[in-house]
């Protein structure tokens, strides 16, 4: 990075333990403005934990995480202000089942930003349209397919106008035929310049959309580089092993 700008996200030697299990063993990584970083690696490698530490759903045991150069605040009120600036999308969508699609998208603006209802509604309509679901505004989550639910969840996460989007295996719980529509929305976001950190098993997506790919194993970052390097000329044996286990032929 030659730009003088501060990275949107910076992980400095981040450590996390669950009891005797070391989930993150000193991970350092910077995510620049507008960059898409995909985190890949075997299950239990710490990818999701790193993502969940980013917005404080998990606390860290060592190191620092900085948003726009400022360390994550230690207090709950400060953390809430930081979370508004990060959108998160979960593997199991986690839409609120008692609310319609549009009410789900309005949740953040109404409750967190205290936006007037009409304004929140307008923003939610725009976002649902963006993810191609304007006609499903009044539908409840139970009446939507997995892919549709995940697109509503993306709209909901975008509704507080975050600076960075965190995706935690957003397509892992989807039927194969609906994965494409979700990846399409994510690609569109990336093209618009959204800063994104994506935990994924979709190697094709990582290769096509990521600016850089980070390979994690046993809580450590084993290789970091542009997709062309990671998928075609991996420098580290463990990256090659992981990709060959997936049947990736390069």
């Amino acid at each position: 990075m030659t730009a003088p700008s501060v990275p949107v996200l910076a992980y400095e030697n981040v450590r996390k333990r669950f009891g005797s299990f070391t989930a993150l063993n000193g991970v350092s990584l910077e995510v620049a403005h507008g960059e898409v970083v995909c985190l890949i690696g075997p299950s239990g490698s710490g990818k999701s934990t790193l993502l969940r530490c980013t917005n404080g759903l998990e606390t860290i045991d060592g190191g620092r995480i900085l948003l726009d150069g400022a360390p994550l605040p230690p207090d709950a009120a400060g953390m809430r202000r930081v979370r508004r600036r990060m959108g998160m999308v979960f593997q199991n969508f986690e839409l609120f089942p008692h609310r319609t699609a549009i009410a789900n998208v309005m949740s953040g603006p109404l409750t967190v930003l205290r936006m007037p209802r009409s304004e929140a509604e307008h923003r939610a309509e725009t976002l649902l349209d963006k993810v191609g679901l304007a006609d499903k505004a009044k539908s409840y989550p139970a009446d939507l397919s997995g892919g549709q639910q995940q697109r509503v969840a993306i709209a909901r996460a975008l509704a507080t106008e975050p600076e960075v989007m965190l995706f935690d295996e957003p397509t892992s719980a989807l039927d194969p035929e609906t994965i494409g529509e979700v990846l399409g929305v994510m690609k569109q976001l990336a093209d618009e310049g959204m800063t994104m950190v994506v935990v994924t098993h979709e190697m094709t997506f990582a290769r096509r959309v990521a600016n850089r790919v980070a390979v994690l194993e046993r809580g450590a970052l084993v290789e970091l580089g542009p997709p062309a390097q990671i998928f075609e000329q991996p420098q580290v044996a463990r990256t090659r092993d992981f990709l060959s286990h997936l049947g990736w032929s390069g």
Binding site: N55, L57, A76, R80, R81, R83, R84, M86, G87, M88, F90, N92, E94, L95, F96, P97, H98, S107, G108, T111, V112, Y140, P141, A142, A153, R156, A157, T160
Partner: protein, 219 residues
């Protein structure tokens, strides 16, 4: 044996007034015991240990005492400890609310715990406070999930209000029993009482079934 149903018609007004007090008592109890139950559940699930223990103590105390005993105790102890003489209605309301709050507390606790962690995390990730997560996301879903249990508590409560007749609250059971003891028309008054309780209770049970179908959340 001859039955004289005239006694029922002659006392229709008194019985109607008794039924009205029964309904009023049940509604007032539930209006206190729902917030009471939510409060007990939130205290029980709180990380602050004294709060959790206080709630658990309250719940186990009132859940395991016979309601009749609580009613008598309230009648004798409340005026002694507070120095205020409560009306029989207020005394009955306190006793019923204590008992039903303890049950509702357990119901709400189960409901809150049944909402998966991911729902709270999604709400927290939007920037909501713990209180907002509870109010906006967890409680509305928990309330729908426990609606059938609350409904059955309501149906029990409606019938259990008859126990407060022992402290001379002029509700339906007390009124019917008073007329019985004055007229000696035992079978007629018991039949009338049964018919009124059933006629009031059955539509409530059906209504709660309907509410559940109407507002139940699918996942």
């Amino acid at each position: 044996m001859t039955l004289d149903w005239a006694i029922v018609w002659e006392n229709a007004g008194a019985l109607a007034r008794g039924a009205e007090i029964t309904v009023l008592l049940a509604v007032a109890t539930m209006l206190l015991a729902i917030p009471g139950g939510v409060l007990l559940a939130l205290m029980r699930l709180s990380p602050v240990r004294p709060l959790a223990l206080a709630s658990a103590g309250f719940t186990e105390f009132f859940r395991n005492l016979p309601l009749l005993l609580v009613i008598y105790a309230a009648y004798y102890i409340l005026p002694l400890t507070t120095g205020i003489s409560f009306s029989p209605f207020a005394t009955a309301l306190v006793a019923l609310a204590l008992n039903v709050s303890a049950y509702n507390g357990e119901t709400f606790r189960a409901g809150i715990q049944s909402i998966r962690k991911g729902q709270s995390e999604a709400a927290l990730a939007l920037g909501m406070s713990r209180a907002q997560v509870m109010r906006e996301v967890v409680l509305p879903q928990a309330a729908r999930r426990i609606a059938p249990v609350l409904a059955s508590t309501w149906v029990s409560l409606f019938k259990d209000t008859s126990l407060v007749s022992v402290i001379a609250v002029g509700e339906l059971a007390y009124t019917a029993m008073r007329i019985r003891s004055q007229s000696f028309r035992v079978l007629e008054m018991l039949t009338a009482m049964a018919a009124i309780y059933w006629a009031l209770g059955y539509p409530q049970a059906k209504l709660t079934d309907w509410l559940y179908r109407r507002f139940g959340v699918r996942e």
